[in-house]
């Protein structure tokens, strides 16, 4: 075992660092640290830069456009992008439907969709949750009935992140109403411009428009847009959930978050002393660093297992639980650091607006971020569902 990077790995790290310094879009710099809401064009600008370099999908197999990097190289890449505060790429194409398509898709589906995911030509969204199907995903009722060479889809999806920008969505739909819950579900790729689809915004506690309701009214979907066999959609869904959880630990970005908390607490004054001198605040920072270090090494141990041929399995639930709790605690510490100035509701400068921010600039987004990040222990299979998965799949209970 060796924690040190090899000379080759150091050279790779320097290459990544230089590439980011020279190519990360100028207009995005600092945007994420400030907690600004990001536009579709913001997301796509960084996506396109990485695609041009061939680095947009490091985890994909090389034959479909992956980088062929080692586990350590992927670790270095995520560390460096977080260190430079690069915005996170939208996961719906790259880490969700992409791997489903290259694992279960037809040659035609692979040839059409994979290059468009890599280039950013299609923006994807995920049609999973329904008003009556949250944690109990398999109870979903949106139905797809065959009519000649296509399905007719009717139903309602919710919590559909960034669907307002989406060109395509991957949907779980019921194709056999008589089968047992998980067995009658299929996985469909749906063009979001198809007649009968309506997307309505849901505004969350921080004031953001991230999620939507999606209504499907007699939406015609060609049969060739089904991935895997009919009624085998749950296989794709399970595969995707395991994949989704690996990145969800968010170690690199949480490390960046702690650095920011340290900077804030070292400069923010509590009387004549920095906040970081307060023994109670200090202890919370130390405890958070402790838990994050434990998570980082749990992820490294998981990655070492993956390099040795063990795919991401139910153990990734551990990463999801700990990673999401830490992300939330970061926002708690930031809000606590803001003190009185956590309260003002400030939506940023409008076009040509010369107003001064209210209180310290960083403080304005602490409460909205705190509210927003409550989602992390709920989405991707709530942390309670993750505990069910551990109990069943790991402990055999």
């Amino acid at each position: 075992m060796d924690l040190e990077f090899s000379p080759e790995e150091i050279a790779f790290r320097d290459e990544v660092r230089t590439f980011i310094a020279e190519n990360y879009p100028r207009q995005l710099r600092g945007k994420q640290d400030e907690g600004d809401e990001l536009t579709k064009e913001d997301f796509l600008s960084w996506h396109r830069v990485l695609h041009a370099k061939g680095w947009v999908a490091p985890a994909w197999p090389v034959e479909y456009g992956g980088t062929g990097w080692t586990v350590t190289q992927r670790f270095i890449f995520s560390e460096e992008t977080a260190r430079a505060d690069c915005i996170r790429l939208m996961p719906f194409g790259l880490t969700m439907v992409g791997p489903v398509i290259y694992t279960f898709g037809t040659p035609a589906q692979k040839a059409h969709f994979l290059p468009r995911i890599l280039s950013g030509a299609d923006w994807w969204c995920q049609g999973y949750s329904e008003p009556g199907s949250g944690s109990d995903l398999a109870s979903l009722r949106t139905k797809a009935e065959r009519d000649g060479d296509h399905y007719v889809v009717n139903g309602q999806k919710t919590w559909t992140t960034m669907a307002q920008h989406a060109d395509w969505g991957f949907f779980l739909v019921r194709t056999d109403p008589d089968a047992k819950m998980q067995e009658g579900i299929s996985f469909l790729l749906i063009d979001m411009k198809t007649p009968g689809i309506e997307v309505r915004p849901i505004i969350t506690l921080g004031g953001e428009h991230e999620v939507n309701e999606v209504f499907l009214d007699n939406v015609k979907v060609p049969l060739e847009n089904r991935v895997h066999e009919e009624n085998k959609g749950w296989t794709c869904a399970k595969f995707l959930l395991a994949h989704e959880r690996v990145g969800i630990a968010g170690v690199a970005s949480s490390k960046r978050g702690i650095e920011r908390i340290r900077q804030i607490a070292a400069t923010e004054l509590d009387g004549d002393k920095p906040l970081l001198a307060n023994p109670f605040y200090r202890r919370k920072v130390a405890e958070l660093e402790m838990d994050l270090t434990a998570l980082e090494f749990t992820e490294l141990r998981t990655l070492a297992g993956e390099a040795a041929g063990k795919g991401p399995g139910p153990e990734s639930s551990v990463l999801k639980i700990k990673g999401s709790e830490i992300q939330q605690r970061l926002t708690e510490l930031a809000l606590e650091a803001a003190g009185h100035y956590g309260a003002p509701y400030f939506r940023g400068f409008g076009e040509g607006d010369n107003e001064h921010p209210i209180g310290p600039e960083w403080a304005n987004r602490t409460a909205p971020s705190y509210y927003n990040m409550r989602k992390t222990t709920i989405y991707g299979g709530s942390n309670e569902i993750q505990r069910n998965i551990i109990a069943k799949m790991v402990l055999g209970l």
């Binding site: 075992m1 924690l3 340290r262 070292a266 200090r282 130390a286 990655l303 700990k322 109990a391 209970l397």
Partner: protein, 376 residues
């Protein structure tokens, strides 16, 4: 970066696990710790001379297999799985680690004895009112021209009744809690002027209060390195303890899961109840964090002192916290039987509870971490 074990390391783990499974069953351990000596000396002899495992973490120049801290992690984890009372931590990790760090003729003489199983060491460093401050040393070592004369009282010295040698911290100058003037001495455990009050500990070991009254030792007994060396050795020992905790936490979890599959209430195995399932899922999460921190701190033992201390303190604080949760949850999930001497689980819990504070509590280590890394 590479976090995989070598084939030799895998073999070391397998050999140890198989040997301990055969010799250290629950009943066998109960018999050992109830005996007059409090252990079966044949086990240590077998680990050393028959299986040659004591050579694993030592350099080849001393007759070792060329391993190091990772080999100690493997051994301590496996010993933890059977809550072994063998003095590996004291003799190999602490004694052997000190000698390797010091080098020279004393290392060349004593390390081969450790490997052969002829030398066992106990570390007399704690004092009755010192808590976890390694520089809190009121035991004195006065130079008498030819050597030193030791006087003082050392507290709760684990494995001392079995030791052939004592590794003692004593002060050649300065006042209690001053960093300078503290030194390490390796002395014969039977030297004139040493009295011991031996006792069993709550977790199955044997330990002693040791009183030094004008104990004359040779000048060569002083192992140079002072408080910096002492802190380094304590950090290595702390990581050994964290590795032991990894093995114990795993067994606390496994034993609990197994029990809830057998035990029936309300007409079904209690493992079917979600309240218990979620507690056990959390036990697994915390057991994993313990394993991760044991590895993290071990891999950082060779970093510069400030980074090493920060890493070890973060590891020990987390291990103490998580181990408390895993241990208490194991007992709670077992119900009444968990607070009796009848099942192994209670004995794992007794040891895990002692590990929480050994070489520093969570609070002590968080404070050390803060002082090192959160300057104001």
């Amino acid at each position: 970066m590479d976090l995989s074990y070598t084939e030799t390391q895998d073999m070391l783990r397998d050999t140890t696990a198989r040997f301990l499974a055969d010799t250290y069953g629950f009943e066998a351990r109960q018999k050992m710790i109830a005996s007059t000596e409090g252990r079966d000396p044949g086990v240590w002899r077998a680990l050393a001379s028959e299986l040659g495992l004591t050579s694993a973490p030592f350099a080849e120049e001393y007759g070792g297999m060329g391993g190091g801290a990772l080999e100690n992690l493997i051994m301590m984890e496996e010993l933890g799985k059977v809550i072994a009372v063998e003095p590996w931590l004291q003799t190999v990790v602490i004694g052997g680690g000190t000698l390797q760090a010091v080098g020279g003729s004393v290392a060349a003489e004593v390390i081969p004895q450790i490997i052969a199983g002829d030398c066992t060491i106990a570390w007399a460093y704690a004092e009755p009112t010192g808590r976890y401050d390694l520089a809190h040393v009121s035991t004195t070592a006065k130079s008498d021209g030819a050597g030193y004369v030791l006087s003082g009282h050392k507290a709760v010295v684990y494995a001392a009744p079995w030791a052939s040698h004592l590794l003692v911290t004593a002060r050649t100058g300065g006042s209690t809690r001053e960093r300078s003037g503290v030194e390490l001495f390796l002395i014969d455990a039977k030297a004139a002027g040493i009295t011991r009050r031996d006792y069993p500990t709550v977790d199955g070991f044997r330990a002693s209060e040791i009183y030094f009254e004008n104990v004359a030792v040779a000048a060569e007994a002083l192992l140079p390195g002072g408080i910096d060396l002492i802190e380094r050795i304590a950090d290595e020992a702390t990581m050994g303890l964290c590795a032991e905790a990894t093995g114990i936490a795993r067994k606390l979890l496994d034993g609990t899961v197994e029990y809830t599959k057998q035990r029936k209430q309300f007409g079904q195995p209690i493992g079917k109840f979600q309240a218990l399932q979620h507690r056990m899922a959390d036990m697994l999460v915390e057991a994993e964090q313990i394993a991760s921190m044991a590895l993290m701190g071990t891999l950082k033992l060779d970093l510069p002192a400030a980074e090493r201390k920060a890493a070890v303190s973060l590891a020990k604080a987390k291990v103490a916290r998580s181990l408390k949760f895993v241990g208490q949850s194991a007992v709670q999930t077992h119900g009444g039987i968990g607070i009796t001497m009848e099942l192994a689980i209670g004995h794992y819990f007794k040891r895990s509870t002692m590990i929480e504070n050994q070489f520093g509590s969570a609070d002590h280590h968080l404070e050390r971490y803060e002082t090192l890394t959160l300057p104001v």
